[in-house]
Symmetry: C2
């Protein structure tokens, strides 16, 4: 099996001045050795320079050194603040440059940062080399995790890039690819990974048994020098399925004993394990509700059992009634997460983290930010986003998601009134409430495809998630530039072509799919392709209520009352149709087709225009990409071109189906007289 190095393929950078030829590092430590090797490889491939080890740090052109670890402390005179365990500082120190890490991870991250600077910003690299600038960074978020939805049989739930590279035929695989996966994660600062599906069924329940523990120990050891903690998804019903107990009631002494012993067994075998991710009482998964217990009782029971080993319980808030009667217009799924978890604020153990999806529904193209981030004050929180493009084109369509995640991070919660220091980024980083167990997680978009992510350009979401979780101040554009240059080299034409494609892709996808925050107009189950009524009469709580007069969900106080879950002035803003952001208009309001938008267009005309425009832009991306025909390697061009063609064609299907549906429904013709069927 071959696979690409993705953004770590280190193509030669033209005119890169690399003024070093000697290197000092304490390579007895595994992480330092990895960093050193990475640096040597990068120097050789980027700048055609061979870096030789020397034994005297004072004489080395490049010195890798930890502050808190490592025997030598000679480079401790750091400018500015001392980086934390995972932070780094890179500065000029005659005769060369020092990469100083707060700990082993920081040193590795610093090394990758210097390499990235060489690749993507030669000017800055020059300044660092000449001492005009230092490069200094500590991660914004304590936890920066991937969630793989890989099943032990090798399939991946919502996977669009082939099969699992962790599991083949129920065996846990450890090979070169897994090692290179760890290298990719380290290069973007990801420090934790859950390798199995949150829906834990069948053999996956046995991951915490002797069948898998020895191999898991090996994997955790492979990950460790890369600064990565191994996590697993847990089956809440394991006491019944593995322990033959009659219940999994968290207040049952036998259940508590089961978990106590189980954690002892697991941590004896896999001491490096980070902890567990749990999907309970969600979409048919077992949980504390079955026993009349709440989620704090469920999570804390596990947390107590794992606490002696320093483990964490990451508990998902994706809890809602997935058997709703579509006739019931009062129940609002959007309210469920808040309703279920707000009353428990302050009750969760210190080593429990609530993992909250960015929006209140489920990774739609556009949703408002989950009100839980605004509400919870005494609970560890982690933001969950989805790099896997379940509802955003399934890695056949280009949809660069960093702009969406930036909007989420920048959302003002007003948890502290009007201070402005309480964005979602402030909350989940722990800055606002002074938390340590918090951060960001992404549902991974990877698989065993040669390019890791199905669509070559979907790797920008993989890359971008790590970079953003590490440094939430980075802009979507900066990240896109970094990824493009790292992946495809310093060719200006490639950047000029791909950068606008990436940056406009989410908006384009939104335009030709579901309008103004309505969501859910997809085929049931597999979630690919248009189907306006696909979920309209189903049990999932996902409705648009389109009729011949208008469409959208009234979530104001006169409607489901969902807006009440936001702090002021957000509540007011959403409540009032005039101040509600139009991109979310139909999420919050039921609106007549004749309603005039701020653009001066009616709602129905906006729907038509948006779909025609989006499909046209998808087609234009395909045409624009032709500019790279003789610049990219033919196989790379062909691969991306094929997907853009699929997207362009499929965008027309979206356009025609949505427009036809609304034309038939509203009876209002397109002002511009374009073909609607």
């Amino acid at each position: 099996m071959t696979y690409s190095e993705a953004w770590l393929n280190y193509q030669t950078v033209d005119h890169l001045r690399f003024p070093f030829d000697t290197l000092y590092a304490d390579t007895e430590k595994k992480t330092v050795l990895l960093a050193t090797e990475e640096l040597q490889m990068a120097a050789k491939r980027l700048a055609k320079v061979k870096l030789n080890h020397i034994s005297d740090p004072k004489m080395a052109a490049l010195a890798l050194q930890g502050t808190h670890t490592g025997r030598g402390a000679i480079f401790m005179e750091i400018d500015g603040s001392i980086p934390n365990e995972e932070g780094y500082q890179i500065y000029k120190k005659k005769p060369g440059l020092v990469i100083c890490g707060g700990g082993k991870s920081g040193l590795l991250y610093g090394t990758f940062a210097l390499i990235r600077t060489m690749q993507t910003n030669p000017t800055l690299f020059s300044k660092i080399c000449s001492g005009k600038q230092t490069l200094e960074k500590s991660p914004a978020n304590p936890l920066r995790m991937l969630n793989h939805w890989d099943n032990t049989d090798g399939t991946i739930e919502r996977g669009y890039a082939g099969n699992s590279f962790f599991f083949v035929n129920h065996e846990l695989v450890i090979n070169e690819r897994v090692k290179d996966y760890a290298r990719l994660l380290a290069s973007i600062g990801i420090n934790g990974t859950v390798i199995n599906n949150v829906n834990v069924r069948g053999a996956a329940t046995s991951l915490i048994t002797g069948r898998y523990l020895p191999q898991l120990a090996k994997l955790s050891e492979l990950f460790a020098p890369y600064g990565i903690k191994l996590y697993l998804s847990l089956n809440f019903a394991a006491p019944m399925e593995l322990g033959a107990l009659a219940s999994c009631d968290p207040l049952d002494r036998n259940v508590q004993n089961f978990w106590k012993k189980k954690m002892e067994e697991v941590y004896t075998a896999v001491p490096l394990l980070g902890g567990f991710l749990v999907k309970a009482d969600s979409e048919g998964r077992p949980g504390p509700f079955t026993y009349g217990r709440n989620h704090a009782e469920g999570a804390n029971m596990l947390a107590r059992a794992i606490a002696p080993y320093g483990g964490k319980i990451i508990w998902r808030c994706f809890v809602y009634n997935c058997s709703q009667d579509w006739r019931d217009r009062k129940t609002d799924r959007a309210k469920a997460g808040y309703d279920n978890f707000m009353p428990l604020d302050g009750e969760f153990a210190d080593n429990v983290i609530l993992q909250i999806k960015n929006g209140p529904m489920d990774f739609q193209v556009r949703e408002p930010v989950s009100p839980l981030f605004s509400g919870l004050k005494a609970t560890n929180m982690m933001l969950e986003v989805q790099a896997a493009q379940e509802y955003t084109g399934q890695q056949k369509h280009l949809c660069y998601l960093i702009p969406m995640w930036k909007e989420v991070l920048n959302f003002k919660t007003y948890a502290a009134g009007q201070t402005g220091a309480d964005t979602v980024a402030d909350i989940v980083s722990g800055r606002f409430y002074g938390q340590k167990n918090c951060g960001m997680a992404a549902v991974a978009n990877t698989g065993d495809d040669e390019n890791w992510t199905g669509h070559d350009m979907a790797a920008a979401n993989f890359y971008g998630f790590g970079r953003l979780a590490f440094d939430t101040e980075l802009s979507a554009e900066e990240i896109a530039k970094e990824w493009t240059r790292s992946t495809y080299g310093s060719n200006r034409e490639i950047l000029e072509c791909m950068l606008p494609m990436l940056l406009s892709s989410w908006e384009i996808y939104e335009k030709y799919t579901s309008p103004l925050g309505i969501g859910w107009m997809v085929n049931p189950s597999h979630h690919y392709g248009p189907n306006v009524d696909g979920y309209e009469y189903d049990r999932w709580g996902t409705y648009h209520y389109s009729d011949c007069h208008g469409m959208g969900v009234d979530r104001t106080m006169a409607g489901t009352g969902y807006v009440a879950q936001y702090n002021e002035p957000n509540r007011r803003m959403y409540e009032n149709i005039e101040t509600c952001p139009e991109k979310l208009l139909l999420f919050f309001h039921h609106v007549p087709y004749t309603y005039m938008l701020k653009t001066g267009k009616t709602l129905i005309q906006h729907i038509y225009d948006s779909h025609f425009e989006g499909a046209m832009q998808a087609q234009n991306m395909l045409l624009d990409f032709d500019a790279l025909k003789h610049i990219l390697p033919p196989a790379v061009f062909e691969h991306i071109h094929t997907r853009l063609k699929i997207q362009s064609d499929h965008a027309k299907e979206w356009r025609d189906r949505i427009n036809t549906y609304y034309f038939r429904m509203s009876g209002i013709p397109d002002e511009k007289g374009r073909t609607i069927y």
Copy 2:
């Protein structure tokens, strides 16, 4: 595995006068032995009489005798016409009664007819015994076949009664159940059965190889004394899949040779085989179109190869474009069968039979009759109906289909102008064109469920198909009475409860599902449950074109022109919205919601009323059935009651989804102000 005897359970008939105690028959013949045993069992169980064999036919109270076969010819003085091979005559001949068969099948059918008369019509039975009446019948249709869509892995395509009893884990099973299946078929006059799915894939392609032939020979021998011919479905691509040829072009000499040799091999091993059923160029199945050949060339190639063995090729006309662009409003799937096969009229070999579905689409709740029956004049035809309730409630809902099939059989084709002797029944029986290779086939609704048909009462469709194919003059009511009495005994209350349920069930199902012949408002793929737009934007050519003004498909000359496929005056009748039968209104016309029906209701009000009424009637069936709570055996009651409850609940789901869709679409409220969501 246990299973019921269905309508052959022979419950005691109260006050049955059975004036016989001796019996003569030539039991050296297998069929006669079967008939004799059946008669003895029936006498014992129905009337508690033991019938003893005696050797002198002149002394026997009951004598079973063939006209053309059998050594004795002493009872040849038959009143009226001599029955054909499969016909029978039962008449008084002192000192007793003679059951006289035109051949061995006729004798068996006569025996079952006499038993059925004892069970279901004691008055008639008395008259026969006393010589006041003879019982005489020859089958209306030469071929009376079941098509099982059983796969070799044991699953059944569109099967709603468990798994296959023919195939388990790719092995062909011959056991007591298969024998009892043959008994059931013989009792209702079915004389042919195709045991494997028309979609022949994988292992099923190998049914015509040494792997299966010996077992198939045994099965054909088991069937023979019951008057049943074994048939198989064939993979048109077998030359490629089995013969490693590069094509299956019917004009390719190698392909022809392959089939010649294959038929020789098959018939050497299974000389009793009736022939093959072929689904070609249909829904992805291979066929002659791939090679630019027409269906006559494809079918005749097989027909020539099988002719030396007296075999038949039954060729399905279910050929249409299943990759239609939903935007294309000119192509009309309803036209496809006629367009594909009419130009070939007269070109098919004598041993080819075209098997034509009752309607031009695909077994919807209501369709017009396929115009092929009106058009083809020099081609053998067989009518295909579907006992399996794919679109009619999947044997969870009660839907007695004989009234539908009666309408089809009674449809005047006007093939002969205004003579009236050219109904579909006249055509497919061979009476009209003097054909012998023709008849009726039903997609079977059986499986290995204890009761054979999932829903106990769905057995009425199994039973009814056989009876109707044998005697197309029987009314739906007569058949329902026969089935109820045979199955549940002579209790008057059972008949009074079940008969109206059966007779109204199709209409009730129609009322709460899709209105006025529109069809297709079902969930894609599995076809169960309401989904108005389920197929609207799909590739299957099945659209309703609902918009805020109206709905229905314009198939007049101003529309797709489908009406032109009918003979006058049918053509005119359908063309004109005033004369078009309203039950098919939306099949032929696109109609505004405000259109006034002959009932004085608008179309939209009819939709609302029909769905409220149908759902109410489904609920009433459930309530009415309670009358049998202490009359039927508890398990029988419970089983039917459970299904009626499912139906009653699900009918409300249909009601609410369809009504809500059309209320939202039309904006016109229900005149009666009932709840629509």
